[in-house]
């Protein structure tokens, strides 16, 4: 019976209960959706990393031999290791179905140890085709690129490295743990999947001719070629090959076949020899030559025993993994050939994905807290008023003999059922829309096979807490009335006799105020909960509008800062790794001498932990400017305010970005201990100045300071004022990539738009919530004042006058809400940018006045519209019924 009463009461008070329901459902949908996508990113990646044995460490060196590998594998704690060669290549696709579409794109070619029978570290997830087989004549292609280009097993890819070509059939489409997010190179901020691919194949299929060329380019071979005519002359003079070998080429193998070598030498020198002749030539000079031994593997990926802690918080360990890793790193550094050892926190794919996944926590935490706070205020006010309206019915139930506990259960059930249904609907809507939607959006960028959203126990806890909160509010709302004796409950509530309060003194200023002001001031003072709810609701709405527009402004400001203040070039040319001095000179003549060199370093942070970073040695004539704290731009050679010329040019003087100082707890007054990766010489140098960079946190140095350390400045990038849009890097010798400032800006803008779109959706939902709150507050306010307005109307107050009185209070509340919401919007946006978008970014909110104006006007418009809409009801008010209802 009481259940039916509850259902009918809910229907009769539809708007109020609908508000609670909508609040709960929206808050739950946002939390469940955002949390499930963020956790889904983490858990899916954790599973992939764990199941496919993602490397824990990566080693770099000049070349790892089989003996080196044995040494590495013997280090205590190392479970497995795999050596490989990774090269930047270009690829051309030929479709098996005869499609004529042809394109050439940059590709990363990964050549696995020829001895490797199976991929044991960084294992493939085979999406299509067959698994890895070192003897199978083909390659395995990354899934994102394959999907973007509609490539399947059976299609063929021609890989080009320098002058060597290798064409292979695609045998499998794969995904690997350390290629969840890849970019063509560091200059690309947001990689379009169709523009860059990667492949794995056995070293067996490495273009041998390129290998032969490398060997022939060696000093010994070149020396022999230079001496070929004189050697032939000696033989023509009657000297035997053996004597020539012993007397002229004393250190060579006695089995060397000089005759064959000299037969082939002209073709080799004139570059007319084919692969076979090159092989025979090398073999003639080095009878023990084995191509497999000549292969160079400069990289090794290492699997450490045990399970690495996952990104998802339930899977964290107590630090023992880090300690073990440090111990293994130290042991590995003792192996001669090892130049650098880096962990997952230096793996671009891992770091970028982790940072993106953790953004979800900030969003879900911030938005859900905001929603729930506003929702709880609304629930408190609505339930309080509802129970008060039910006073007589509570009295009647008591009089009929219902026990207090039964009546409690009945009233608690209103909040309980409404919130339970709201929570379930929130889940049902939030997971497939926000959760799956955002997850899929992220999967445009990340390659995680078989993953999906994940609903962790946090979501269930929040759901229970929401239901508990609403139920408790209902309990506390009914407790006071239920504690009264039945007879008292059946009487009208006796208003408390209150003492005069400040602000209610009828003499003084208050008595001189106009009637409408006086009436509204006192009404506000008497309805504190409703007023606070209104102010908070409106503050929330204004805040969200400021955020929506503020984010757009802030991103625009960031783009201006980065691409106008810091990157002042029109085009950037990245040098080939084997650029010759002649090519460099040619480039300087054509495009100027503004250059930088980036060197990878290791350094000890403020906590004594070894970290990996980079120093940009800047000789760019201001084309790569440094930004001070206030975002003012400076040429590095002019320094940053506060640092003298001698400070910044002292040997090894470092510039460090502000956020790196904070993130790595670096004491800028202490010297920093660092070394260039691959170089055993450690430096301890002073930090000359602190600068800011909105999108990469690292070090910089003047050329003079770098050379002062005895290091040789070898620029890898050149900057020019010329716009090289449309110029192909293949047309310029010695250049591997050309990017223009405009294209970089476009890439960054595209990446930020995705974040912006995601947040825009939250804000849209929050806007709906704000509107519901404003409407609910207006409705409550109107209901409570209805009999007073009816009295006024009976007394002869005209509709417009009553509407003005009603609207006046709403305007005050709106202004108070806006006064809180506008700065709040700035602070929230600032928080979001400072803490939610990754450690590498350093930018804060920059909001144009127009955003505040829009928020002000928008909120006022909603409030005025709602006030007028609700006040229109006063025109047709049944004065008698309204006054009777109050009786």
């Amino acid at each position: 019976m009481l259940f039916r009463k509850m259902l009918r009461d809910i229907i009769h008070n539809f708007t109020q209960f609908m508000t609670i329901f909508a609040m709960v459902a929206i808050a739950m949908a946002v939390y469940a959706g955002v949390k499930s996508y963020g956790d889904g990113l983490k858990v899916s990646a954790d599973n992939l990393y764990e199941q496919q044995n993602m490397p824990d460490l990566w080693l770099m060196g000049s070349g790892f031999s089989e003996q080196d590998m044995k040494e590495i594998r013997s280090v205590d704690g190392v479970a497995d290791a795999m050596r490989y060669l990774s090269l930047s290549m270009t690829g051309e696709v030929t479709y098996a179905d005869g499609r004529k579409e042809t394109f050439s794109v940059p590709m990363e070619g990964n050549f696995l140890d020829i001895k490797q029978k199976t991929v044991s570290v960084n294992r493939f997830v085979v999406v299509e085709g067959e698994g890895y087989d070192p003897d199978a004549d083909g390659l395995w292609l990354g899934r994102m690129f394959a999907q973007a280009r509609d490539i399947h097993p059976g299609d063929r890819i021609k890989l080009t490295y320098e002058d060597a070509e290798i064409e292979k059939e695609v045998l499998g489409i794969i995904s690997v743990p350390d290629h969840v997010y890849v970019t063509q190179d560091a200059t690309v901020l947001f990689q379009e999947a169709k523009d860059f691919g990667w492949v794995y194949l056995s070293m067996r299929y490495f273009p041998r001719e390129a290998m032969y060329d490398k060997i022939i380019e060696s000093d010994g071979m070149q020396g022999f070629l230079s001496a070929r005519d004189s050697l032939r002359a000696l033989h023509d003079m009657g000297m035997s090959w053996r004597d020539i070998l012993v007397t002229q080429l004393g250190e060579m193998d006695p089995d060397t076949d000089l005759e064959t070598a000299l037969d082939l030498a002209d073709d080799i020198a004139n570059e007319t020899a084919g692969e076979e002749k090159k092989h025979d030539f090398i073999k003639a000079l080095d009878p023990h030559f084995n191509i497999e031994k000549a292969y160079t593997y400069p990289m090794v990926c290492v699997d450490v025993e045990g399970t690495a802690p996952g990104i998802y918080k339930d899977n964290k360990d107590d630090g023992s993994y880090d300690r073990k890793l440090d111990r293994i790193k130290n042991a590995l550094y003792k192996i001669d050939v090892v130049d650098s050892v880096t962990g997952r926190d230096s793996c671009g794919s891992y770091v970028y994905h982790k940072s993106e996944a953790e953004e979800g926590d900030t969003y879900s935490g911030m938005f859900t807290t905001l929603f729930l706070f506003i929702a709880s205020l609304s629930v408190v006010t609505t339930m309080n008023r509802f129970v008060k309206k039910q006073r007589m019915q509570i009295g009647a139930l008591k009089a009929l003999g219902y026990r207090k506990s039964r009546i409690y259960r009945h009233y608690i059930s209103y909040g309980f059922f409404v919130s339970v249904v709201g929570v379930i609907l929130g889940y049902a809507v939030g997971l497939p829309t926000l959760g799956v939607g955002f997850y899929n959006m992220e999967m445009d960028m990340f390659d995680i096979v078989g993953g999906g959203i994940y609903v962790g126990k946090d979501s269930y806890i929040v759901a229970v807490l929401i239901v508990l909160m609403v139920t408790l509010v209902t309990y506390f709302s009914s407790r006071k009335i239920l504690s009264e004796p039945a007879a008292q409950t059946l009487r009208l509530e006796v208003p408390k006799i209150k003492q005069k309060k400040t602000g209610e003194r009828p003499n003084g200023l208050m008595s001189r105020l106009p009637f409408a002001v006086k009436w509204n001031l006192r009404d506000v003072a008497r309805s504190k909960a409703r007023t606070i709810m209104g102010i908070v609701g409106i503050a929330g709405s204004a805040l969200l509008i400021v955020m929506a527009y503020g984010m757009e402004d802030s991103m625009q400001h960031y783009l201006d800062w980065e691409f106008t203040g810091i990157l002042r070039f029109k085009s950037r040319l990245t040098f080939d790794s084997d650029i010759t001095n002649l090519e460099k000179s040619d480039l300087y003549r054509k495009y100027g001498t503004a250059t930088t060199q980036t060197v990878a370093i290791e350094y000890y942070d403020g906590n004594g932990m070894l970290q990996t970073s980079a120093i940009t040695v800047n000789d760019s004539d201001g084309m790569i400017a440094l930004s001070d704290h206030e975002q003012g731009s400076h040429d590095i050679n002019e320094g940053i305010p506060g640092a003298t010329y001698s400070d910044i040019t002292a040997p090894g003087a470092l510039f460090i970005t502000e956020k790196l100082v904070v993130n790595k707890h670096i004491d800028i007054h202490q010297k920093l201990r660092w070394h260039i990766l691959g170089d055993d010489d450690w430096h301890e140098t002073a930090i000359a100045a602190v600068c800011r960079d909105p999108q990469s946190q690292q070090f910089a140095m003047t050329r003079q300071a770098f050379e002062g350390l005895g290091e040789k400045y070898e620029p890898d990038t050149l900057y020019t004022d010329l716009d090289l849009t449309g110029v192909d890097d293949e047309d310029i010798d010695g250049v591997s990539a050309i990017s223009t400032s405009a294209s970089l800006r476009e890439q960054t803008s595209g990446m930020l738009n995705m974040i912006s779109g995601m947040l825009g959706l939250f804000i849209g939902m929050a806007g709906v919530l704000g509107f519901i709150i404003i409407y609910n507050m207006g409705l409550l306010s109107m209901n409570e004042k209805m009999y007073q307005f009816s009295t006024m109307k009976v007394l002869g107050f005209k509709f417009m006058k009553i509407m003005r009185i009603y609207t006046m209070q709403n305007v005050w509340i709106t202004l108070a809400g806006i006064a809180i919401g506008l700065p709040g919007g700035f602070l929230f946006t600032d928080y979001l940018f400072r803490y939610a978008i990754g450690e590498d970014y350093d930018f804060n909110a920059f909001i144009e006045p127009s955003a505040y104006l829009i928020a002000f006007a928008g909120t006022m418009a909603v409030m005025v519209f709602t006030s007028i809409f609700l006040a229109m009801g006063l025109r047709k008010i049944d004065m008698v019924a309204s006054l009777k209802a109050n009786e």
């Binding site: 208003p495 408390k496 006799i497 209150k498 005069k500 209610e504 009828p506 003499n507 009637f515 006086k518 009436w519 006192r522 009404d523 008497r526 009999y787 007073q788 009816s790 009295t791 006024m792 109307k793 009976v794 007394l795 002869g796 107050f797 005209k798 509709f799 006058k801 025109r875 004065m879 008698v880 006054l883 109050n886 009786e887």
Partner: protein
């Protein structure tokens, strides 16, 4: 004396879904100026509907309501507001005074809507609340609140004072006091105002000039009371 209120063939029908309820059925009535009129009848007889139509709080379904020679049944909402502001004083069973305003401010409320000169303090003195000018309603008893309501109604000295169960929520002594105040409004020195009181209480009929009995939406009888009793003589 001239007729202050004339009702000609007035009907008021309320509709709830398909159900029709005839609250007043072809009522004809004349009330003269300066009379103290009591309308008696059981619950649902149509007393309050009659009062609301006379006071311009509601419009008849058919017929004419003429007050002070003006047919108010054709008035717009705006004109009705003016009419109530200038001509009518209302007193309700549950006072309907504004809780956010002090006694004095509640009575001065009239100044907000009319240009009638109001001596609010005198009106409050007239109802014996001179020590309570600055109190708020929730600091007063029910009888005191009803006197505030009367003070608000009489402050503008309305030609027509309409009272719906004004003593219904009060004890007998306070009720008698209220009736005295109301009756005084009909005196010549007060402007020969007309006071109409709707009540269940038949004892009040003894002090009235005219007693109108209403039943089932019809005027059952209109009785002239030749010798109205003194309020103090009525045994409650």
């Amino acid at each position: 004396m001239a007729d202050k209120v004339i009702l000609r063939d007035v009907s008021k029908i309320y509709k709830t879904g398909e159900t029709e309820y005839r609250a007043l059925d072809h009522v004809d009535l004349n009330i003269e100026e300066g009379r103290f009129v009591v309308i008696l009848g059981p619950s649902g007889a149509g007393k309050s509907t009659l009062l609301n139509l006379i006071g311009g709080m509601d419009n008849p379904t058919s017929g004419d309501v003429i007050v002070n020679g003006e047919n108010i049944s054709k008035y717009s909402d705006r004109k009705l507001s003016d009419f109530r502001a200038h001509t009518i004083g209302f007193i309700f069973q549950f006072y309907n005074i504004l809780p956010s305003l002090t006694v004095l401010e509640n009575v001065e409320l009239v100044k907000e809507i009319t240009k009638i000169k109001v001596d609010a303090k005198q009106a409050i003195r007239d109802v014996g609340l001179e020590r309570h000018f600055y109190k708020f309603p929730n600091q007063m008893s029910g009888g005191e609140q009803q006197r505030v309501s009367i003070a608000r109604a009489i402050a503008k000295n309305p030609a027509l004072l309409l009272c719906d169960e004004p003593t219904g929520a009060l004890d007998s002594n306070t009720g008698a006091m209220i009736l005295k105040i109301l009756k005084r409004q009909c005196d010549a020195d007060r402007g020969n105002n007309t006071v109409i009181v709707v009540t269940h209480n038949a004892l009040i009929a003894d002090v009235a000039d005219v007693v109108i009995r209403v039943k089932n939406g019809h005027i059952e009888s209109v009785t002239e009371n030749e010798n109205p009793m003194n309020i103090d003589d009525v045994s409650w």
